[in-house]
Each structure stands twice: as structure tokens, then as C-alpha cells.
């Protein structure tokens, strides 16, 4: 197989030795698909060359060692950078979040919790009040309580939220427009073989890091996990440019990106194994075994760096690491499955609503004002979120509070009812205390918070600031789960003589753990929206450290996936890929139709004939006119117009670069010079100008299928080999061509979707 570099092999002619590789041949245009087969061949060629030279000298041996170990070096550097950046993002986001409430006078750089860390004024009932932390009302008005200070706090909260959101969207618009959104749909497409130049660049990395902190701090209903995957992939891309093995080969670069995305999830959740499984299941397209080990290594290095920076002061990686040891009972599977159904329903609803909203943003005039849109959404979020204490606080803190079970040491509003339930075990002198209304107000506030978050996340995901989806979905699920858990607990308490509860629960004992319900609900909602399976279960159980809860988690996640799949097969990321029209051939979908290759190939009946090049008949002028008049990416080369026998395939970009290069470097190439793709120049009259040899850019072994090949096999070939185009022959003669875009359009047509929505090549 010929490659774009023209490397010398033993059987080529002597003249080939004198041909140096043309610079630029073998690279790709922006928004085009790579050719996986060609890239893998190039890599094998490079490896062979290095290996053959290995024994010549010590220097060559060192070079071969360096080449073999450069993969590990890239992955280590990526893990280090991802861990460090995640630590920076966590610390800065925490601080800026608390800046909306007040400042720490003794040390400006501490957030609320760190400010009161050393103080002895904190009491058991009010654990976060200390004199060093002053709210804005206290600083400006001089008093901490009262309606005036409430209004001042409200006003300052909205002011800070709006200014952070405005800063974030301005920075994104001016410096790096690719830094907005989650990033995972585009990374999925890039890993399947698409090129988006600048998407994983230095400016995108810097702006994404800085604006992610601002977006999270502005109180919008978004998370930072998806953007952290983008940040980690940017680090991987940047470091891979230091090593020629990865910078010159697009297929090898994608191996590094798979490992980088595992590191990204690992630092976001504190779940290295979950990160590797996430990279395998959600993000990567091809995942060879070598990538598995490297991804795990990257995830561990990133987790280690984050742990040593120690952002939260308690040696855990994520804020809501809770440890349970209470058992669950068999009858609790019913509410867990109900939570799974809720997760699936919510996931299907969210995907439909969000895609409809994003489509409206794309196609109508409404999408022309992104800055105004962000400010409006931030204002509405801040105004509605402040009165409710559950939505005012940081979403991660809310999740942690919901996951934490009520024990004697907890004093949150959610646990106020416990003391009057365990009447016989309370150490109060007065057992006839009236029922605490604390839990009812908490339940109302939670219900309102649930509705608010469900509505706002639909409008927030897809804004022109970095926005992730994991934390809001987990919050929605945790709120729903906690409500169900408290309801079941009250049911068990007041009806402890029912058969179900009599078997397992004793009077007064805590047999129901509402925190576990919150955890199961969070997993169900996240599974319903992203349709992850194994990786989600592993992430949640690494988050909580509870091996005994794998069965409830699996039951809920499976139920939510089945319920969600009943409404539509795609998760949120695939839906966004389809919305944007990226050329992503999904490996999970099956092609079940019985069409043949000749029904999909181009040219169709009414189309102009196939644009082909003959192997030695064309002049430079004719070749340039073919390229200028058509917009195809490649042209098959045939022997002659009479016998349409196939010689090879030549790409448009390679042809243009080769002609430019020849015009510059070789003398005597004129417009009527003959262009030949054969080994030897054709016989020409004596006064004709010097012919141009383009054999080195010709792909001599393009993939072909016959016109009667079923499309199932063709789609399978495209998926497994990563092809861009495939030629169709009939009785040995060239008939037409099928490209990846044709296949995607055909699949869209078969599924009754709009085939014109596939935009890229």
C-alpha cells in the first residue's frame, strides 16, 4: 500500500529514492474526516523504519527506546496537567461561589468553610457562623439580620451572579468561541475521526479553565464534569505535539485523547476506574487494549496529583464522598425501581426539551444574542434560587447534604424530625415534644427546588459558556430520591405493623436510609439522560465506597435505561451530535435494512457522471479544471476512458499540494504538461514540456465492493475499518463511489429523518 510519505521500500525503483516526501501531503483539512487505514499504515511504516535502524548504533537504539516510551511520557504529562488544572478549578470555583455571600476579612482568599476552620465560635447547631466571615449586608449596612440585610444580600447575590456570567460569556466570545458547551459530543466526534482545528488548542484550554470557574460560580444550573473532560483532552492534544510520533499521526493522537478523557472523568469524580470505563463506553470509538492500560495510568496519575494538591482539606477527591454501612432490604427494590422509572422518564423528557430548545436557538433570530441570553438565564436563576436555601447553595454541597444520612451528629433541616420519631431513644427530659414542622418545610422546599432545577437545566445546557450536565442531573435525582426515601421512612414508621415492614424493621430502629435513596435516584437520573450503564455504576460506587449497594444501583440504572430507550434510543450526547450534523457513524446502532450498495452509491440516475482521472492522459490545466469545477474530496484514477479499470484513488488536497509544490520546486512544469500516475512517463513528442509524476500521492489499494453487496456489510466495513470512501465496481469496472456522508444520509433517510442535516464530509 502506498502512503503519502513516499518512504523507500526495497522493491521500488531507484528514482523513488530521489523523491523526497512532499511536505503537507497526508494532512487533513479542517472539518474533514481522517482516513484511519492510511494513518495506521503510516505508523507501522515509521515503526518498521525505526526498528530496522535500531541495531546500527547506540544513538539509533536510544531513539527507538525513546519512541517506545514516548506514549507513556505523553500520558503521564497529561495526567499531571489534568490533575493540576482540576485542583485549580476546584479551589477557585469554591472561593468564587462563596464570594456571592460575603468575604473573609482575615484572609481574603478563603471561602466560607476555610475561613471558619480555626475559629472556636462555631456551635453545634450553627456550624458555619464565625466572626471572621462577614456577609455583604454586614459589611455594607453593618447589621447581619433583618429585612434590610436580607434584601441587601439578595441584591449582592444577583449582582455577583450576573457579573460572573457576563464575564464568562464575554471571554468566550472574544478569545475562544470553541470553549462553550460541554465538549463531550465534539470530542466523541473527534475521536471517531473528525478534525476540528483549534478545538483542543491552547487558547481553548485557557479560556475553558477560566470561564468554567466563572460559570459555576455564577450559580447557573450546570456542572463541571463535561468541561473537565474537554480540558483534559486539550492537555493531551497539546502534549502530543511535543512528540513527532503523535503529532504527525492522527490515529495515534486519538489514542492519547482516549487516555486523556479517562483522566478528565477521574479527577471530576474521584473515580479512576469509572473514568476508564467512561472513556471506553461513551467517548472513544476504537479502544485497543494498549489504550486501556494507558488510560488507567493517566487516570491514576491525575487522581494522585489532585489528591496531593488536596483542595478540600479532607484527603478526598470529591466533595460528596460518603461512606455507608447500613444494609438495604429486599422490599426496597420496589422504590428503587420506581426511582429508575423516574430517571428514565426525566431523561427522555430532558433530551426532547433540550434538543427542541437548542434547535430553536440554532435556526431562529433568538440565537443571535448569546450574551443577552446568558445574562437573562443567569438573572432568572439567581432571582428564583436565592429564597430557597437548597438552591442557593452550591449544587455539590446540596448533593452531599442529600447523600448524608441523618445521625445524631447531623443538624440539617432534613433531620429535624428524627428526634421526635425515636421517642424512646432521645436523651431529652421531655418526651412529649410537639412534632417538629422542620421536615415538612424541608420537603416543600425540596419539591420546589426539584421543579426549578428541572426547568432551568433545559435552558442552561447549551448556553455559550462551558456547561456540564452531570451535577445537575445528579442533583435532580438526589432530590427525588431523598423525597421518596423520607416518604418510605415515614410509611415504615407509622405503619410498622404492615407485613412488609414487620419482617424487616423493628420499632424505632432505622431500617430505611433516605441517603441511599438519594444516591440511587442520582444514578438513575444520570443514567436516564446519558444512557451509560457500567461506567455509571462504577462511578457511583467509587464515589460512595459502598460495594453492598451495587445491586440497587444496577437495578435503578437498568430500569432507567430501558424506560429511556422506550422513548428514543439516543442519549443526550448522540442527540447533540445529530443536531449539529457531525459525521459520526454510531457503533451502537444496527443497520437492519436490506438495501444494496448500488442504491446508495453516487452517481445516481440523474446525477452527472462520476468525476474520474485517467492515469496518463491529463494535462495540468485539465486536472486543475476538474478540481475547480467539482467539490469532491477525492477522485478515482482509471486506466482509460474505454476500459474503466481501477488504478487507485487520489485525494483533492494531496493533488493541489503536489501541483503547487511541483510548480515551485521543479522547472519546466507548464499548464500543458502531462500528468501521469504510472511508474514510467508515457511516450510524448520531443518538444512537449516536462511531465509531472504524481504516483507518490496515489493510493494504490482503495477499498472496493461490488454493486450487489448488501449495505449491512458496507456499513460494517466502514465502522470497523474507519473508511472515508469506498469504490463500487461492477464486473471489475468502476461504477461509483460511496462516502461516509452518503451512508449517514441513507441511514437518516431510512429512519425518516432529514438527510440534508448531515453537513460535514
Amino acid at each position: 500500500m502506498s502512503n503519502g510519505g513516499g518512504a523507500a521500500s526495497s522493491s521500488t525503483h531507484l528514482l523513488d529514492f530521489l523523491e523526497e516526501p512532499i511536505p503537507g501531503v497526508g494532512t487533513y483539512d479542517d472539518f474533514h474526516t481522517i482516513d484511519w487505514v492510511r494513518e495506521k499504515c503510516k505508523d507501522r511504516e515509521r515503526h518498521r523504519k525505526i526498528n530496522s535502524k535500531k541495531k546500527e548504533s547506540a544513538w539509533e537504539f536510544t531513539k527507538s527506546l525513546y519512541d517506545a516510551w514516548s506514549g507513556w511520557l505523553v500520558v503521564t504529562l497529561t495526567g499531571l496537567a489534568s490533575g493540576a488544572l482540576a485542583g485549580l478549578i476546584d479551589i477557585a470555583a469554591d472561593w468564587m461561589n462563596d464570594l456571592k455571600e460575603g468575604v473573609c476579612l482575615s484572609a481574603m482568599w478563603f471561602n466560607h468553610e476555610q475561613c471558619c476552620w480555626t475559629s472556636n465560635e462555631t456551635t453545634f447547631a450553627e456550624r458555619d457562623k464565625c466572626p471572621q466571615w462577614k456577609s455583604w449586608a454586614e459589611l455594607i449596612l453593618g447589621q447581619a439580620e433583618g429585612p434590610g440585610s436580607y434584601i441587601m444580600n439578595y441584591f449582592m447575590y444577583i449582582y455577583w451572579a450576573l457579573s460572573f456570567a457576563f464575564l464568562a460569556v464575554c471571554l468566550v466570545k472574544v478569545f475562544a468561541p470553541y470553549a462553550c458547551g460541554s465538549g463531550i459530543p465534539e470530542i466523541k466526534t473527534i475521536l471517531s475521526g473528525f478534525i476540528i482545528r483549534g478545538y483542543l488548542g491552547k487558547w481553548t484550554l485557557m479560556i475553558k479553565t477560566i470561564t468554567l470557574v466563572l460559570a459555576v460560580a455564577s450559580g447557573l444550573s450546570l456542572g463541571k464534569e463535561g468541561p473537565l473532560v474537554h480540558v483534559a483532552c486539550c492537555c493531551g492534544n497539546i502534549f502530543s505535539y511535543l512528540f513527532p510520533k503523535y503529532s504527525k499521526n492522527e490515529a495515534k493522537k486519538r489514542e492519547v485523547l482516549s487516555a486523556a478523557s479517562a483522566a478528565g472523568v477521574s479527577v471530576a469524580f474521584g473515580a479512576p476506574i469509572g473514568g476508564v470505563l467512561f472513556s471506553l463506553e461513551e467517548v472513544s470509538y476504537y479502544f485497543p487494549l494498549k489504550t486501556l492500560w494507558r488510560s488507567f495510568f493517566a487516570a491514576l496519575v491525575a487522581a494522585f496529583v489532585l489528591r496531593s494538591i488536596n483542595p478540600f482539606g479532607n484527603s478526598r477527591l470529591v466533595l460528596f464522598y460518603v461512606e455507608y454501612h447500613t444494609p438495604w432490604y429486599l422490599f426496597e427494590l420496589i422504590p428503587f425501581i420506581l426511582l429508575g422509572v423516574f430517571g428514565g422518564l426525566w431523561g427522555a423528557f430532558f433530551i426532547r426539551a433540550n434538543i427542541a430548545w437548542c434547535r430553536r436557538r440554532k435556526s431562529t433570530r433568538f440565537g443571535k444574542y448569546p450574551v443577552l441570553e446568558v445574562i437573562l438565564v443567569a438573572a432568572i436563576t439567581a432571582i428564583v434560587a436565592f429564597p430557597n436555601p437548597y438552591t442557593r447553595q452550591n449544587t455539590s454541597e446540596l448533593i452531599k447534604e442529600l447523600f448524608t444520612d441523618c445521625g445524631p451528629l447531623e443538624t440539617s433541616q432534613l433531620c429535624k424530625y428524627r428526634s421526635q420519631m425515636n421517642g424512646s431513644k432521645a436523651f431529652t427530659d421531655d418526651p412529649n415534644q410537639p412534632a417538629e414542622p422542620g421536615v415538612y418545610s424541608a420537603m416543600w422546599q425540596l419539591c420546589l427546588a426539584l421543579i426549578f432545577k428541572i426547568i432551568m437545566t433545559i435552558f442552561t445546557f447549551g448556553l455559550k459558556v462551558p456547561s456540564g450536565l452531570f451535577i445537575p442531573s445528579m442533583a435532580i435525582g438526589a432530590i427525588a430520591g431523598r423525597i421518596v426515601g423520607i416518604a418510605v421512612e415515614q410509611l415504615a414508621y407509622y405503619h410498622h405493623d404492615w407485613f412488609l415492614f414487620k419482617e424487616w424493621c423493628e420499632v424505632g430502629a432505622d431500617c430505611i436510609t433516605p441517603g441511599l435513596y438519594a444516591m440511587v435516584g442520582a444514578a438513575a437520573c444520570l443514567g436516564g439522560v446519558t444512557r451509560m450503564t457500567v461506567s455509571l455504576v462504577v462511578i457511583v460506587f467509587e464515589l460512595t465506597g459502598g460495594l453492598e449497594y451495587i445491586v440497587p444501583l444496577m437495578a435503578a440504572v437498568m430500569t432507567s435505561k430501558w424506560v429511556g430507550d422506550a422513548f428514543g434510543r439516543e442519549g443526550i450526547y448522540e442527540a447533540h451530535i445529530r443536531l449539529n450534523g457531525y459525521p459520526f457513524l454510531d457503533a451502537k446502532e444496527e443497520f437492519t435494512h436490506t438495501t444494496l450498495a448500488r442504491e446508495v452509491m453516487r452517481p445516481r440516475r440523474n446525477d452527472p457522471p462520476l468525476a474520474v482521472l485517467t492515469q496518463d492522459d491529463l494535462t495540468v490545466e485539465e486536472l486543475q479544471s476538474v478540481i475547480n469545477e467539482t467539490s469532491y474530496n477525492g477522485f478515482p484514477v482509471i486506466v482509460s476512458k474505454e476500459s474503466q479499470r481501477l488504478v487507485g484513488f487520489a485525494l483533492r488536497r494531496d493533488i493541489t499540494i503536489a501541483i503547487e509544490n511541483a510548480r515551485r520546486k521543479q522547472e519546466g512544469i507548464l499548464l500543458n504538461s502531462r500528468v501521469y500516475f504510472t511508474q514510467h512517463a508515457p511516450s510524448l513528442p520531443a518538444d512537449s514540456p516536462r511531465p509531472l509524476k504524481l504516483r507518490s500521492i496515489l493510493d494504490m489499494s482503495p477499498f472496493t465492493v461490488t454493486d450487489h453487496t448488501p449495505m449491512e456489510i458496507v456499513v460494517d466495513i466502514f465502522r470497523k475499518l474507519g473508511l472515508r470512501q469506498c469504490l463500487v465496481t461492477h464486473n471489475g469496472r468502476l461504477l461509483g463511489i460511496i462516502t461516509k456522508k452518503d451512508i449517514l444520509r441513507h441511514m437518516a433517510q431510512m429512519a425518516n429523518q432529514d438527510p440534508e442535516s448531515i453537513m460535514f464530509n
Binding site: A81, A107, T118, T123, C180, I196, G198, T411
Partner: protein, 188 residues
Amino acid sequence: MKLVLAAEAACLACLVLLSQAAAAKNSEDVRCKCICPPYRGYEGHIYKQNVSLKDCNCLHVVEPMPVDGKDVEAYCLRCECKYEERSSGTIKFTIIMYLSILGLLLLYMVYLTLLEPMLKRRLFGHSQLIQSDDDAGDQQPFANAHNVLNRSHSRPNMLNKVEHAQQRWRRQVQEQRKSVFDRHVVLS
């Protein structure tokens, strides 16, 4: 932009090193925190002290002990003591670095959006030349070939190189802005 990358890498390395170095330097950064729930009429209380890991238990930290001798064990059984440490140096360094980078970016943004067009408008003749450079779209099929082959040319003048890199970066950002914000082609 290689300078930015190098500066960023240096900052990250400093962050990691500093975090290791400042880990246990400050004695105020370690503490043992004991939370004791209400017990028989005594209210719940939180006790904090700067003790080391081996002394982090109820007997060393809870002072003054609210209950008498025989109840001490029962009281201490309900208390939960945890050893925590943080690194205030890392937090301070991170916040200051973040705010300075944010400040620099804001200044650069103000310069790009407000000051530079004003300066260009003053030098009216120049502005037309620069604008026509920006409008050269790469619609021609051979434009990419020019870009690819031009990369091998090296400009001897340092200032020209910086100017050239900045112009190229701005063209890229303008292209990105067109795809994302105007045509809505990428990133919904």
C-alpha cells in the same frame, strides 16, 4: 503563544511543588475536630484543637469535659473525632494566580475590543490595508496549500513574527466565532 504555554506549565509545576512544600509547614493547618451530640441535658458541642494524629481522640481534645468521671466514657463514645489538614499556602497561591490571569485576560480583552479599533481609526490610512488582509477568505481551493507550504518560511525579524502570529490567531478566532455564533454550524 508558546510563551503563554510555557508560563502556564511553569505555574502548574510551581503549584504542585508548592503544595508539597507547604503541606505541613503551618501548624494552624492541622486540627482535630470532635463533634459531640447532645447528651442528657448537655447541649451538643464542637471541639477543635491543633494536635497531632496520635492525640486525636476524645480524651485529649474535649476540654473542658462537661460530664463527670463515670459518664466520660459514655459521652466520648458518642463523639466523633476526625483529623483534618489543609494547605492554606496552596489556596492562597491558587486564588492569587487565578485572579491575576483573569485580570490580564480582562485587560487584553478591553484592549482588543475598545482600544485597538480606536487606535486604528486614528491611523486611517493603515486601517484599510489591514482590513483587506483580514477579508481574504480561504474559499479558493489552493489557499490551504499556500498555508501549508508557507509554514516552512522563516521570518528573521522577531517583531514581525509576533505580529504575524497574532494576525493569524485573530483570523482563526474570527473563523471560529463565525462558525459558532453566526452560522451555528458547530456547538449548537
